[in-house]
Symmetry: D3
Subunit: 235 residues, 6 copies
């Protein structure tokens, strides 16, 4: 099985970090094909970056046909619905994957993401998915995405502090880390705080494996009807 791990931003170090996380949890027979668009935003922080990354990331899907499933490795699940119109192979966003998984091991979870500007988009996603009632609060740590790539930053400590507040104030039973760049912090934070801390990349990879094994494909009726051929011609 081959899974396209698609980082919608152009920062190769984040693509590699996510790919490493994916490979740690993938089954023996699964190959992780890690890609990011050549052009577009270097980080996705809010509505505008999300919009500007879409053409590039959909192009990666179109030009990487030889895979069995797609993981969208940005926590706002960039382009998820559009991607599902482009292919009926399973497409899973790391945000939704983490929300669904967290719902199976806690009554309520909180999300700790990067900047305040990203919070409303995540709240909209939670409402769209139906899981808003399971999320106590979406919190921002005010750690910028690219700070997570800088060795020596105190990003982890600030995220940890925010988790502490989520447990005390939100009565959160689990924490979802709200950025693909936080993927390597999950185990340590779980140990520190004594509750499950979920990383969306690893959740999404195993969900894709499940869906491929179950031969589940995106419905072609209604909102995910396939894009007509004449609209798929290169722009």
């Amino acid at each position: 099985m081959r899974i396209l791990l698609l980082n919608p931003n152009t920062t190769a170090s984040m693509t590699e970090k996510a790919a490493a996380a994916a490979r740690r949890v993938a089954s023996a027979g699964t190959e992780i094909v890690a890609r990011n668009p050549a052009r577009g935003p270097a980080s996705i922080e809010g509505y505008y970056d999300e919009a500007m990354s879409l053409a590039g990331m959909l192009d990666v899907i179109r030009t990487t046909p030889d895979v069995d499933a797609v993981v969208i490795a940005c926590f706002d699940d960039t382009g998820l619905d559009a991607a599902r119109c482009l292919t009926d192979k399973p497409v899973v966003g790391i945000g939704e994957a983490a929300y669904h998984m967290a719902s199976l091991i806690s009554n309520k979870f909180s999300v700790v993401t990067t900047l305040a500007r990203s919070v409303p988009a995540l709240e909209h996603n939670l409402h769209k998915y139906g899981l808003a009632s399971r999320c106590a609060r979406v919190r921002s740590s005010e750690v910028a995405v690219l700070e997570l790539e800088e060795p020596g930053s105190n990003a982890c400590q600030r995220i940890s502090d925010e988790i502490g507040r989520a447990v005390a104030e939100d009565r959160a039973e689990a924490i979802v880390l709200g950025c693909a760049g936080m993927t390597d912090l999950a185990d340590q934070l779980a140990a520190t705080h004594g509750l499950p801390v979920l990383d969306g990349v690893s959740c999404a990879v195993t969900m894709c494996e499940s869906m491929v094994r179950l031969r589940l494909r995106t419905s072609r009726l209604g909102g995910y009807a396939p894009v007509p051929a004449h609209k798929l011609a290169p722009a």
Copy 2:
């Protein structure tokens, strides 16, 4: 006052039709600046077209700075949130404008749009805006967007039939027409069915005029925080 009427698809005849509707309702001192992107989908029918039109439509906003407000003339309010990060001038989508206006003259309204594939995106918008409880049902007439541009099609009759069903089955008190291309049908359909039929283009134009006159601007706190300068460089 100058209002950018931005059709996110590339079909110039639709841009012109929407501009004509806008000019019919605009105040004496308002100039309608009608634009559409040079490249992108010819019609927006569902998630994929929406995604593929974003870069182009945001580029039009960036390169048309000398306006006081922006109307996004596609009923799925393409790129609305991203546009609000790009400028603090009022940005109003024709979908949201019609939903808000319909909420002021009816207890419940139904939407009659084009294809079934567009319905879930509109339902998500209604939930995001908070107005889902005011909408009895989003209905598709199975009239494709570009059919509305063809003289002699029976599109108007099929839309009218769907309105009849909305009144009978949904107990709708008003109808929102779910496509910028239907803008010229509203008066006739209102007369036929004896209830308000709202066209989003005219609603959005007058709302923008109001907001400019009230000097209301999009908040710069939270989700619509301005895009950092280095991210605005041409892609």
Copy 3:
């Protein structure tokens, strides 16, 4: 165009203050006809005052036929639904107008109103309109309505303090002022806090102008069916 600006309480100074706000934003050709009932509560603070003002305010509408639209200038939108059964001309409450406008320029807003006793009625309205999900919190400043008419009170400071809390605690991106008597404070508070502060009177006036220009009228189907003639006879 003539717009009836109807203050449902009997305090003429509030009627005048609201009329002045209305005239500041009205278009050149719009005449503001300001009225209040002769008898009834001097201020509307909670459910009981609202109920006791209804007969008087509906009587003003009945006896002021020569207008094109009606603005109900009390923030709890007193008698809004009943007024829409009495006439099919646009009727807009200042509460709903501000909520709808705030939804176009922020992801979430908070309301700062007068007394705690008024909060549940406003929360019910937000739910009825569908916009509760857009409102972070309805806050009371514990400033009584008539204090706002007293020169030299510290009412403005207390309202400003509450706005500060709304930004800090609710993550509000905009503020709606929850009383017609606060209409003259909006600009100053917006400047102080650096976010949009909306006054319902001016929002409602421009919305009415839009609706008149668009020839939108309240639906006669369902809940706003016209009152039968025999029920309109003077009581």
Copy 4:
């Protein structure tokens, strides 16, 4: 114990019918004091009638102090919130009483009321009370309130037909009769359709008895804070 049975409309025959229903279920020591306002609408069908009956009905409460609880015998629970500010004695509307009781004996109920124009007000009440999720649908039988007072009308048959549709289409497990004038039809309709059919008058009377016995009084904090004395002076 004395319970004020307050019919907010001026039709004495309806007051008597409701009083008879109340007396049938009242405990031995309970006296039913039946009243209606001297002036106001003869029937309450929709928002306008409701508004016009408020001053009269609140006046009855003010001038009938020697009771232990108040039943508001109109299915739209006219003036319920205002009445609770006027007295801390239990005040129960027949609509809410029936909804609460129906929630204790069914997973979902439907309401069968009089005219379509009354439906949105009832839907708003259900949302306000929180019980909208328990109500499958509010249905109108198109039987006017005063038809229920006419011997020989086919009103009962039309209501029965609507109940049949509620069972078949809504999967309703119980029926709430949506008008005080239907109070005498409940037993027969329950027998015909083989499911519980609830009349709000009898539900409200026994609930008031319970609350008096439990010495429960309306909270004086927040929205039901008592009306200040100077506002209670006769208008």
Copy 5:
């Protein structure tokens, strides 16, 4: 009339305390038949205890046929839905009874229960009943159920402190005590805090009396369809 007061746990002192509370409010002609299962958990604190008490408590219902109604005297309304399939006599949980009653005397209430582990189950119940929007917050006092049976514990003070926080932080207008073992504290706490404090046992008993007097029985359609005879054979 005979009402089965069924304590689902095996602690006889709690059964007696609840029975005493029931007898204080019951009508002259009502006999309270107090029972608890012989085997099962000694206290019900969370999902597991609830599950383990079900067979025992349903067995008490099956073997106590000669009653007119059933009160389930555990605040999580243990086995409520199952009991309604077993008999069409009124079955009322003390949690739901208190929530419904509190909705009649306040705009919003808060619940003060025992341990944090019980909170999610109560929140689920509130959602199921439809009354979640009426509840400001479910709070735990961290008083274990059996502490309430210990003379000299400071349980009442800790519950009182939590009520203070509910008033200050939640703007609660009434308090629901979230455990059958708190039934004797209600009056004192109401006096201390100056707002209604509801005990579910007394609410449920009077509701059952009402339902018996009204001859209301659980619907046999849909979810409460009677259990087939062959499934009622002793296990």
Copy 6:
């Protein structure tokens, strides 16, 4: 890896059918340990059966310690919350597994279950999980659970007919089969209707495998706090 496939009813043929479905999708290294309680209901159809099966099924979990995860193979997710208090190993219900998976491949799905009496419990689950907004409708086929075990019944045809109605009336984009006994029908029904048809058993097995591989465990904070040792003694 060993997964306990726990059928909460006592019908061994259903246990075997579910085990066969589980083994078809399990990974090479996964052993399926299929169990059902020795005593309890032979089928779970509604609230009462669910309650009566709980002690038995929790006993199976307690006495089968040597597994890595638990699948509860009844579509109402019998005892799910209680099981999560008993062990921190992943516990997944087949209902929730199918709902979560269906949310990843469709905008809206419908459920087709057995009897009408089971519908409300499933609707409650959907609300509790947060996924009610993703489910268009829960439909009953009026096929009893044990009919699915009878060779030669027309159960499959009736289920297929109901799926046809779900597509036509609900605009469902995917179908969830609402009974563990339907597990062998999914592929055929998907082919017939041209949309995804999900079987919860296979969804739950692969989800458990994912969770074990990710080392995700149920949170021990809040509602799933571990059962105290003294409450785990044999009853």
